[in-house]
């Protein structure tokens, strides 16, 4: 997974035209790992196919 994430970060930085100095990469990777862990917490939550997003939230 670690190697795949390294590859993903390199590819994403290239595709997004983002600068990524070698010294920044460990911190970027650590942050991405945290975000992906957070995403895993809700990504498999069972929502119906009809569930709608709330891109403009109205309370």
């Amino acid at each position: 997974m670690a190697d795949k994430l390294d590859d993903f970060i390199d590819a994403a930085a290239g595709a997004l035209d983002l600068p990524l100095e070698p010294a920044w990469k460990p911190a970027v990777k650590a942050n991405l790992e945290v975000s992906l862990r957070h995403a895993a917490a809700f990504a498999d939550f069972p929502l119906p196919d009809e569930a709608e997003p709330a891109p403009i939230f109205k309370a």
Binding site: K29, N31, S35, A39, A43, F45, L47, P55, I56
Partner: protein, 461 residues
């Protein structure tokens, strides 16, 4: 009003100026003197608008309507992401220093000044509001008035420091994931994060459009309500601002607790909380005879808020990251670059979940009028402290100070953060109400203040 204006409430200052007991200019001069002295320690201000403040105070003193101005002569300051005419809007960044000076004040400031308030300056904040500490690599950390070696919390750290440190009775800040409630908690003051869409954000620098709220800080509940009432009103320039009639809260503040049902959040909201946070929460819950309730899936909500924040933030800053990444605070830059790389499928999932979660939480308000929760897991950490230990697990301060605030702002609920004056450091409790019921949260806060359960402690400065 006390002779020492710096610890007077906004309401007392306004009454004294309205009656002519003191002039707005005298109040302004005293406050500017105190800012000059205390800011050397607290580093709350990044700009003091002294000439403007004197001119404004003189205009109020000369106004035939002075007695009708609800905030006559009340000094206030704003987080430096609010536009201030003639100054670049920093948003805590180095990059924004090159911005053209703002041509006009933010709308909320115009509304406060129309009521007689006097702007005295701009306040320190975490870079681009992506911060829970109050530390800023460009301007230095804002410092906690109860212990200047400790954090204010962020990102509205200067707002917390300035109000808690007696440099202004009122300040404005912004709250995306907790940036009003966290500094309120660590600095021992009151803060209001209104319902999403209630207060216009026009001419303030954004962070996460679907989560951003603006709101006030004060040392009394009445001051919080007074400023909030003054700032309400529709504004078509902010797409999220909802067209609702003004709903004043000040007339209802003293109604007490009769008829109100209060719950206290259990489960997620007790895990990881320090003994101090739980002690404060339990003291408030006991005073309100609150029963326990579970906010469903709060852990997932916090995670979804995290992902939406980092991706929306990355989208906002994408061009700046491409162009001048080296000018960011490295900690902010690296989080934003990572945020830009999160697959869009996960972002949409987070938004879908937000809809479900909102409906689940709103259902709780059928059986209660307000829900209590800790505002922060701990009292103020030391400046520079990287980790703290929650439930026996060491974790980063910067990412986790919003554990209990993120699941609430995620669905835009109104919250009053109230300070419990524990020794040696205060800590806050959230009073969470249903959408548009700021009046309920403020009324409960007022009852707690009257009972002496919550109060803004005066630091030794």
């Amino acid at each position: 009003m006390s002779d020492d204006v710096t610890w007077s409430s906004a309401a007392d200052i306004a009454a004294a100026v309205q009656s002519g007991k003191v002039s707005a200019l005298e109040v302004t001069e005293q406050m500017l003197g105190v800012i000059d002295k205390r800011n050397r320690v607290l580093n709350a201000f990044t700009a003091v608008t002294d000439e403007r403040a004197r001119a404004r105070a003189k205009a109020i003193d000369a106004s035939p309507d002075k007695a009708k101005l609800s905030l006559a002569g009340v000094p206030f300051a704003v987080k430096n992401l609010f536009d201030i005419e003639g100054l670049p809007t920093l948003a805590g960044s180095k990059i924004n220093r090159a911005r053209t000076p703002a041509p006009r004040d933010a709308v909320l400031m115009e509304r406060l000044e129309a009521a007689g308030a006097v702007l005295v300056g701009a306040l320190n904040m975490g870079e681009y509001a992506y911060d829970f500490t109050g530390e800023n690599v460009h301007d230095g950390p804002s410092r906690n008035p109860h212990d200047p070696e400790r954090m204010t919390g962020g990102s509205s750290g200067g707002s917390g420091s300035a109000v808690g440190g007696g440099m202004v009775p009122l300040a404005l800040g912004s709250d995306t994931n907790g940036s009003i409630r966290v500094p309120s908690s660590l600095c021992g003051i009151f803060g209001l994060k209104p319902t999403y869409g209630r207060l216009t954000r026009t001419r303030s620098f954004p962070f996460v459009a679907s989560l951003d709220h603006l709101g006030p800080f004060a040392r009394t509940v009445r001051d919080l309500a007074l400023s909030y009432d003054t700032m309400q009103g529709f504004d078509a320039e902010d797409a999220a601002c909802v067209d609702r009639p003004l709903e004043s809260t000040t007339p209802f503040l003293e109604q007490g607790l009769d008829g109100l049902r209060v719950a206290v959040a259990g489960g997620y909201f007790r895990k990881g909380a320090s003994p101090e946070a739980l002690s404060a929460l339990d003291a408030v819950a006991k005073a309100l005879n609150a029963r326990e309730v579970e906010i469903p899936e709060a852990n997932r909500a916090r995670s979804a808020a995290y992902v939406i924040t980092t991706t929306e933030g990355a989208a906002l800053h994408l061009e700046r990251l491409r162009r001048q990444a080296n000018d960011f605070d490295p900690a902010v830059r690296d989080r934003l670059i990572a945020g830009a790389m999160i697959p869009s499928t996960l972002v949409v999932k987070a938004q879908n979940f937000r809809r479900w979660y909102r409906d689940a939480v709103l259902a709780l308000f059928k059986d209660c009028d307000a829900i209590l929760a800790p505002a922060t897991p701990v009292t103020a950490p030391k400046i520079g402290q990287v980790n703290f230990t929650l439930d026996g697990i060491e974790m980063p301060v910067r990412a986790n100070m919003g554990l209990y605030t993120q699941p609430i702002s995620f669905i835009g609920l109104p919250v009053v953060a109230v300070p419990v004056p524990l020794k040696p450091l205060p800590i806050g409790v959230q009073i969470i109400a249903a959408p548009w019921r700021e009046d309920v949260a403020l009324r409960i806060a007022q009852a707690l203040e009257t009972m002496g359960v919550v109060a803004a402690p005066r630091p030794a400065l």
